[in-house]
Subunit: 382 residues, 2 copies
């Protein structure tokens, strides 16, 4: 099978290196024929003309590693229309246009796979798909973003402030200069949208309750440590027979839970099934070779005719903010009396308000009544 | 596809319940036609005549849930000879007779799968197989036994002695009345032998260094806690280009590692690949529905023609006790001067001897020179 790689940055070059260096029998007959990149100088296979790739009948699979929406959306669409399989690590474009890509892939009798877009090297989406062959999945949750975990882990282990610790992953090159997607939730939202498709056959994106992690302070973490808690940035979906509830927010775990001890920029993602109970998958959620590895696994599935479940988007569940009741923790500059508050404790200059078990809708009401703008810590107890 | 289940205990009845209650499309056309069990009274499909099943041309797959070697070995062999696929959770019979079963399955053009035999509900063997499609695996290690973890977790969290905590899993029914297989290593040995096949294409069983966990005391754990360590019972294999080294022993982890915090009777198993780095898989390593689930996944793979890698036993690696150098911890009633000892500390009535980085062969020499019989703690630092 001959393939083309679009983009020759970190991920694209990782895919190229794995395919050209690995010696497994599954990769023997897979060959990179062309690479879409800015200049032919960078590597001998490079072309900057996408039509060269689209019109090459020998190329039956296109790996999209450009990232972002433009021109990735157009290139994926055209590749599918030219009856080429598409494999991507691009969660933004996959989360946004999945319906369209799925229809287009089916119509042209090719596959659209995106394992690497969630959890990087962790075999998460394929495992979720596989679990669903036997089990009803009721819940998925996890640490989907390595940069946010790097920051929280460093704050927790090394008593750092948010701002100083953010600079390290930026300097190491795996946090963007503009870290908003990582720390304000967009990245996790895209990954949980894609997980919802595989786990629950829903592909809808209302305004999920999404709370940034950028307001957390060293004092918050010190306060939680007093009670043997750690805090992580979590995407989560729960369902019942008619509703689903998705949220992205800081979440408080016992310090000796699997989530609490996840180090550095690793990810851990959990599914909870009727029969299987909780399965957790841990590994590198990003990086040249882990992400490249996940892409290559998709390529092998296509080349070896591994039957992957056809993606069916049913959208039979209705979004709800009333599905679960949880205790939440809010940090406030003022103390507050409110029906939803169970207890309140002053720690240094702040009040930590623990709620009763309330719904996400009630949480939103409570935050509104606090009226403290954005600079507020919002976290749920796991 | 019509199948038969041999044995209607915990696992067999779990398989039956999942197949008859699950509503997924993958299970729609899978039907349990017959159950080999002692009496027809227990359930309507029961027969106590194995030939009824073997000679039934409609039955194309046999699930072996009898456990132990006899009559499991004979029934698996005969089923394969009768051109029926075999799926089993029986690690003892799979580890011992794998070569024979693989040859017989190939000859009769059927499959022999045993996902549930290692890690129970955790999709471990299939994930290891999949990782090997891209990557060279260098190391596997993990908590493969739930009973041993239950004991160590309870000793660690609740300050219990070994003997008192052993009774709980026995009373809960998931530790045997004779717990030797769980705590002296046989169970882990079988599971690591099977993992070695999938990870490294070796199926050899020399006398792996296998140290029981039954000599651990509350004092040992207290001593380790002083240094922020926890201890777990670990099976591990490392390889290089020409050798492999497998061991089963207590292993010391930082208290904030993924292994240290594994609660109750859960398992966690890790693979380390060249490209992917460390992937960890966590879940229920035993039990009716988790193990049943893993068996049903194998059945679906066969029924849906999912291409599973053909098991190739190359035995190209030579067993070595000199592959890795590690620090070990020994508890001794007497202090000892020895070239291999780095430091020694008295704690209550015992001495804790920490070795330099030595090989497993050197460890064996050291233990011999201690000359304290069996009642000695032997652990490695991870």
């Amino acid at each position: 099978m001959k393939i083309a790689i679009l983009g020759f940055g970190t991920v694209g070059s990782g895919v190229y290196d794995i395919i050209t260096n690995s010696t497994t029998s599954e990769l023997k007959n897979i060959e990179v024929k062309s690479v879409f990149a800015r200049s032919r100088d960078k590597m001998p296979l490079a072309t900057n003309d996408i039509n060269e790739i689209l019109n090459d009948k020998e190329i039956s699979l296109v790996v999209e590693c450009l990232g972002g929406l433009t021109p990735a959306y157009e290139f994926i669409k055209k590749s599918l229309e030219h009856k080429k399989h598409v494999v991507t690590a691009n969660k933004a474009v996959a989360a946004k246009y999945l319906d369209e890509f799925v229809v287009l892939a089916k119509k042209n009798n090719v596959k659209f796979l995106f394992e690497a877009s969630v959890g990087g090297g962790i075999p998460w989406l394929a495992s979720l798909e596989k679990a669903g062959r036997v089990d009803k999945i009721n819940r998925i949750y996890g640490i989907f973003n390595g940069t946010s975990n790097y920051i929280l882990d460093n704050m927790y282990r090394n008593n750092q402030e948010f701002d100083s610790t953010l600079k390290t992953p930026q300097n190491l090159g795996y946090a963007e200069a503009d870290p908003s997607a990582d720390i304000d939730g967009d990245d996790v939202v895209n990954k949980i949208i894609l997980s919802n498709v595989l786990g629950f056959n829903i592909h809808i994106f209302p305004e999920f309750p999404t709370y940034s992690m950028r307001y957390i302070t060293k004092n918050d973490i010190d306060y939680l440590k007093k009670y043997d808690f750690a805090i992580k940035y979590i995407g989560e979906t729960n369902i019942n027979d008619s509703n689903y509830e998705t949220s992205v927010m800081l979440t408080i775990f016992s310090k000796d839970s699997q989530e609490a001890v996840v180090p550095l920029n690793n990810n851990i993602i959990t599914l909870d099934g009727n029969f299987i109970g909780e399965l957790k998958f841990f590994g590198q959620g990003a990086g040249k070779f882990p992400t490249g590895n996940a892409i290559v696994q998709d390529i092998i599935d296509i080349n070896s005719n591994v039957p992957r479940k056809e993606i069916t988007i049913k959208n039979h569940l209705v979004f709800s903010k009333k599905l679960t009741r949880k205790n939440y923790l809010l940090r406030s500059k003022v103390n507050l009396n409110h029906d939803f508050i169970e207890s309140s404790e002053q720690y240094k200059e702040n009040y930590y308000l623990k709620t009763k078990e309330i719904t996400l809708e009630q949480l939103e009401q409570l935050i509104k009544s606090l009226n403290q703008g954005d600079n507020i810590l919002v976290a749920k107890f796991h």
